[in-house]
Structures are given as structure tokens and as C-alpha cells.
């Protein structure tokens, strides 16, 4: 860790902060919560307390801005610089600025808090099904008033829980109209506007009048981002138009064609070639919580660390289960000392073989333990077996956030760090003695942390060190014609897609049964990936379909956004 020259620090432990404005990307309550959690990262390990002020000058003034935003360090549009903060002191010192040309989320795609409806403002659940169709964004389907809505559970038809998605048709934020909705058309400088505009502003924020004449009433608010609208480009706030024509070819989804940087974009009219209207498609976004926790580190007196895993490392990387690195803790302790009383230690890593969660299935008769059959004996591993020299793995899966590569009785583990090398080989028989040497597929049930392993027509379930199985996959109601399960994708809590041949089935993990309406054809639902993929798994929010030593990576909108080498990209060989 490093501190700023002169060990700049606050001379008091009761630090105050104030949020000056909000990003249109998330509801203000979600942003408030992200900042509060980011402060808690530091207050958990120091004697510091953080109190939010709603007016006046706070030690840490937090704001969103774009490009030139009032200090000598302008932001640079999308990506690149995400935020900056000043070390402790008076005036601008201690303040934190976030680049609002970024797409702010919690790191895993749009965070849409609903309004009205019957879900008490719950977040949208993506994907959700409505009348048999799956939706990954808010939709206006089923409504005649054009208001975007979403289900707040996985299945609208079953649960009937819904809410409306933020849009200028329902509310604004900031401004002086108390969040009133936009009124269209409205008049501004004698010109009529039928949608939100950036006219009249130098900061690039989209706004509207909340009466029919801004000239007369001077009432206005800022327009919230819709999850279906583009970011940046020359059509910010407009929805993608599908299909659209680009260089004479028709596109039904966002594409990276035409760009050298691989970023996904779409046209906001039916023909880009004619209209040249475009914008970037919403992606996973940057975690406001993680970036804020880093910036607040600066605001407390920490400079950049050279330890890649530390929060204070200058580069952004998304981690799902964040815990403060020892280096960050040492740094902040150097400045402020440790928390008096018992110090909460950083969250310990969860051993994937230790089931620390209560098992809801414990009394389920269908899950009675069956006699354990040990099909392998512990074999010494050959340390010369190099994961980088394998052309094809039996299966690849994610366990507790780390990638596991299985091959012929051995496995390798890729720690979740960017530059880490594969660890292994380890003997499968050492860790999971009941398993055979060849594993066709595996997945971790996100709800119970149980590990499911498939080999041929049999499967095993590991809970810590105890094992159920082998059982026939027919017990899951998979057809007897299936020779092996070749891949698994978690779809929300309790549902897993199992792939075999050119089809896939959806397993209800709790009911231990295949859902109705399956199998479905892989190429119909997952267009653009090889229909004969032999490994299918989920990693960091993407779906991976592997054939030989290549992978096809698909984002949550089911767009193939990368094709690459397992060896170089996943194993970092």
C-alpha cells in the first residue's frame, strides 16, 4: 500500500459525506446504498464513522459529472477513466467524482428498481418470462400505454409480481420539479420538444420540462436512463431499432461490427447507413460500489497500491464477493489504526466443499442418501501434466467463482485473479473420492452450494465431503436416450440448463425434475454458438460454449461477444 506524500489524513474520526447529484443509470436509493456500503468497507476496519449530510459542506463531497466537470482533471468519455478522488483536506480535497459517461450498475448489468406496480419497488428480475416469452430487459409488451415494465420474479405468469421501469414518462430526477414526469411536447426557447434533450446544457445530461412550457414555468427534471436505451454515441437515451441495416447487412441484435474496439453498438433507426444514428448497447456496466470503495480509499488518504488484488490497485476489475485485501487493511490501519473492540476480519474464502448454508432439502425424502460408491482410488498426480498443453478438457465449470478444468482424473483450478496461473494438476479422487476419472459436466447449485457432477448417464451430488450417488440421470427425468450431459448453465437460483447433443433441458434443482416445455434446441435459443459444444458453463456473468480449444462467449443478452482460445484467455497460458 501507499499513502499520499505527507501521510495526508483526516484529523477527526467522524467523517461526513454529501451526495451532490445522481446518475441517471440507477435509482437514487440504489446509489445511496452503494455509497453507504462503500463507506462501510472502511468503517468496518477502522475507528472511522461516516455520517451523511444533506446540505452544507461535508468532508467528502460526492458528485457525478461528464468530461469537464469543474476541476482540472476532465473525464474522457466512456471507459478509460472511471472516477477520481482527492486526498483528505479542505475544499476540493477529500471529494470524489464519478464519470457519468460510464454505465453505472452494480457490475452485473442493468439495475432497475421498479415504480408503482405491486412489488413494493423491488428490482426487476432479468430474465423473466411473460406469456411464454423470456425477457432480458423491460418491455412494453402487454400494455397499450407504452410504459415499460418488468416482472420482479422469474415468472410473471406464476407470481404476477411486477413494477414499472424508470422512464421519463413516469418520473424525473434532480431539477426543480420534485420528480414529476416529463410533459411532451414542451417548449424550450420557443422550440417544441417531443423527447428528452441535452439542448441548453453543457454537461450532456438529458432533461425535459415537467409542464408544457419551460419558457413560461421554468420547471424541469433530468430523464432517467432506460435499460433498453443506448449509452453515448449520438443518440443517448434512444432505444435500439431492431432490425437495422449497417453496411447493407441487417442486424437483429447489438453488434461490434464496424468497430475496432469490440464494443457492442446498435442503430437507433432502421437504417444506420442512411441516418447515422447510433449508440452503445448497455453492458455489465461498472460497479458503483467497487469504484466508490476505491475512491473513498483515496479520500481517506490511501494512494494506489501495486498489489493487483488490492482494492487500491488502480485498474477496475469486478469481483462478486468483495472483501478488503490485507494490503488495504494494513494501509488504512497505518493511517487511522484498527477498529477498537473486536475487528471483523475480511470475509474468509468459502471452501466449495463445505456447505455452510442450511440445506432446505434436508428432510426431502427424494434426497435420501444412497450408498456411496467409490469408483476411483487415490492416484498420484503427475505434476508435469500441464493444463496449457491440453487441447480439450472433459469439462470446465465454475466453483465458488473459480474456474475448474477437468481432464482424465485430474483437475486444475484458476484462481479468480486476472494474472494468476492455473493451479494443479490435482487428483479428482483426492477431493471428490466418489467420482470417476472422466467428468462430462459439473455445476454448483448457487442456492445450496451443492456440487453436481455428471459422468455418462450417472450423476453425483457433493455437499461438503458427503456425497449422494451415483444416481441415474433418468432420476432427473432426463430421457434415457441421453448418453451424457455436456454442459450446465445456472439460470437464476434453483434452475440449471443441462446441455446434451443439440438440445438442452431446464432442471429445477430443488424439485430434482426437468421443467415442462423442454428439451429446446440449443441453436434456437443460443444463436451463434456451435451446436456441438462439448463444454458449456457460466463464468463472470457470461455463457461459454467450448469446442476443442476454442470458446464462444455469450453475454446475458445472448449475443456472442467474443470467440477466443480457452488456453490463452481462460487458462492465461
Amino acid at each position: 500500500y501507499k499513502t499520499f506524500d505527507g501521510d495526508l489524513k483526516w484529523d477527526h474520526n467522524d467523517v461526513t459525506y454529501r451526495i451532490l447529484n445522481y446518475s441517471p443509470d440507477m435509482d437514487s436509493s440504489v446509489i445511496d446504498d452503494a455509497f453507504a456500503r462503500a463507506f462501510k468497507v472502511w468503517s468496518d476496519v477502522t475507528p472511522l464513522t461516516f455520517t451523511r449530510l444533506f446540505d452544507g459542506t461535508a468532508d467528502i463531497m460526492i458528485s457525478f459529472g461528464k468530461a469537464n466537470h469543474g476541476d482540472p482533471y476532465p473525464f474522457d468519455g466512456r471507459d478509460g477513466l472511471l472516477a477520481h478522488a482527492y486526498p483528505p483536506g479542505n475544499g476540493i480535497q477529500g471529494d470524489a467524482h464519478f464519470d457519468d459517461d460510464e454505465y453505472w450498475t452494480l457490475g452485473k448489468g442493468p439495475v432497475v428498481k421498479t415504480l408503482f406496480g405491486n412489488a413494493n419497488g423491488a428490482l426487476c428480475h432479468f430474465p423473466f418470462t411473460f406469456e411464454g416469452e423470456s425477457y432480458t430487459t423491460c418491455t412494453t409488451k402487454g400494455r397499450s400505454d407504452n410504459l415499460p415494465w418488468c416482472a420482479t420474479t422469474a415468472d410473471y405468469n406464476r407470481d404476477k409480481k411486477y413494477g414499472f421501469c424508470p422512464s421519463e414518462l413516469l418520473k424525473t430526477f434532480g431539477g426543480n420539479a420534485n420528480g414529476d414526469k416529463c410533459v411532451f411536447p414542451f417548449v424550450f426557447l420557443e422550440k417544441e420538444y417531443n423527447s428528452c434533450t441535452t439542448e441548453g446544457r453543457s454537461d450532456g445530461y438529458r432533461w425535459c420540462a415537467t409542464t408544457d412550457s419551460f419558457d413560461k414555468d421554468k420547471k424541469y427534471g433530468f430523464c432517467p436512463s432506460r435499460d433498453t436505451t443506448v449509452i453515448g454515441g449520438n443518440s443517448e437515451g434512444e432505444p435500439c431499432h431492431f432490425p437495422f441495416v449497417f453496411l447493407g447487412k441487417e442486424y437483429d441484435s447489438c453488434t461490434s461490427e464496424g468497430r475496432g474496439d469490440g464494443k457492442l453498438w446498435c442503430s437507433t433507426t432502421g437504417n444506420y447507413d442512411n441516418d447515422n444514428k447510433w449508440g452503445f448497447c448497455p453492458d455489465q456496466g461498472y460497479s458503483l460500489f467497487l469504484v466508490a470503495a476505491h475512491e473513498f480509499g483515496h479520500a481517506l488518504g490511501l494512494d494506489h497500491s501495486s498489489i493487483r488484488e488490492a482494492l487500491m490497485y488502480p485498474m477496475y476489475s469486478f469481483v462478486e464477493d468483495f472483501s478488503l485485501h490485507e494490503d488495504d487493511i494494513e494501509g488504512i490501519h497505518y493511517l487511522y489504526g484498527s477498529k477498537t473492540g473486536p475487528v471483523p476480519s475480511p470475509t474468509p474464502p468459502i471452501d466449495p466443499t463445505t456447505d455452510s448454508y442450511p440445506d432446505p432439502d434436508e428432510t426431502d425424502a427424494t434426497n435420501e442418501p444412497e450408498p456411496t460408491e467409490t469408483t476411483t482410488t487415490a492416484q498420484p498426480v503427475d505434476p508435469k501434466k500441464d493444463a496449457c498443453k491440453m487441447t480439450k478438457f472433459d469439462t470446465i465449470t465454475t466453483i465458488n467463482g473459480a474456474l475448474y478444468f477437468f481432464k482424465d482424473g485430474n483437475y486444475w483450478k484458476m484462481p479468480g485473479k486476472n494474472d494468476a496461473e492455473p493451479k494443479g494438476p490435482f487428483a479428482i479422487s483426492e477431493k471428490w473420492p466418489a467420482l470417476p476419472a472422466v467428468i462430462d459436466s459439473a455445476f454448483e447449485d448457487l442456492l445450496t452450494k451443492k456440487l453436481y457432477f455428471f459422468s455418462g448417464t450417472r450423476f453425483w451430488v457433493y455437499t461438503g465431503q458427503s456425497v449422494l450417488g451415483p444416481r441415474s440421470i433418468e432420476k432427473l427425468n432426463l430421457p434415457s436416450s441421453i448418453q451424457k450431459v455436456e454442459g450446465a448453465l445456472q439460470r437464476g437460483r434453483g434452475k440449471v440448463l443441462l446441455f446434451s447433443g443439440e438440445n438442452f433441458w431446464r432442471l429445477d434443482v430443488k424439485a430434482q425434475n426437468i421443467d415442462r416445455g423442454y428439451p429446446k434446441r440449443t441453436d434456437v435459443v443460443f444463436g451463434g454458438v456451435p451446436s456441438d459444444a462439448h463444454d458449456v458453463f457460466q463464468y463472470k456473468g457470461h455463457f461459454y460454449f467450448c469446442r476443442d480449444h476454442f470458446y464462444w462467449r455469450m453475454n446475458s443478452r445472448r449475443q456472442v461477444d467474443r470467440v477466443g482460445y480457452v488456453k490463452y484467455d481462460l487458462l492465461k497460458c
Binding site: F75, L81, L82, A83, G233, L247, H298, Y316, V563
Partner: protein
């Protein structure tokens, strides 16, 4: 599947085009995040200073210290990051 796609790159109106060579990008990065400035002050010649600054940046980022603008270094410079300089000015 392995056939390479023929890509045509276009200029998108309103895009924040960072039309710069790798060298320009690297020099901008080294200066913006404080690596170059420190070296300038210590009075080295330009070629040496870029190489030294690169080495310093590579050390900070945990990259191999080649002192050259190699692919991993260039990739690191393109990663999203915090705007606070790595070397205090």
C-alpha cells in the same frame, strides 16, 4: 467457425475517437499518471525517459519490466481505471 471475419471499421459520428498511435497513447498515459513527469524532472533524455517511465509503470502494474511498449503494457494502458495518478506529482 474458425474462418476469420472480414471486418470493416467505420467512423461513428459523435464517438469519442481517440485517434492516436500506440506511442501517443503510451506517452499520454505515462504523463497523465505521473510516470513521465518524474523522469523529466530528473533530466534524462527522451528515449531513456520513456523506457524508464515504462519500466516504472510496468513495475507498478505487476507486468514484466521490459521498458518497451509491448502488448501486455499496451493492453494494461487501455484498461478502465481510476484517474488518480500512480506517481505523485
Amino acid at each position: 467457425w474458425s474462418l476469420p471475419l472480414k471486418s470493416i471499421f467505420v467512423t461513428f459520428p459523435g464517438d469519442v475517437v481517440k485517434n492516436m498511435t500506440d506511442t501517443e497513447l503510451a506517452e499520454g498515459y505515462l504523463e497523465k499518471f505521473g510516470y513521465m513527469d518524474t523522469i523529466h524532472r530528473s533530466g534524462f533524455e527522451s528515449m531513456t525517459s520513456t523506457s524508464k517511465a515504462l519500466k516504472k509503470m510496468q513495475r507498478q502494474m505487476g507486468l514484466e519490466e521490459t521498458g518497451e511498449l509491448d502488448k501486455p503494457t499496451l493492453e494494461a494502458m487501455k484498461q478502465p481505471r481510476c484517474g488518480v495518478p500512480d506517481v505523485a506529482n
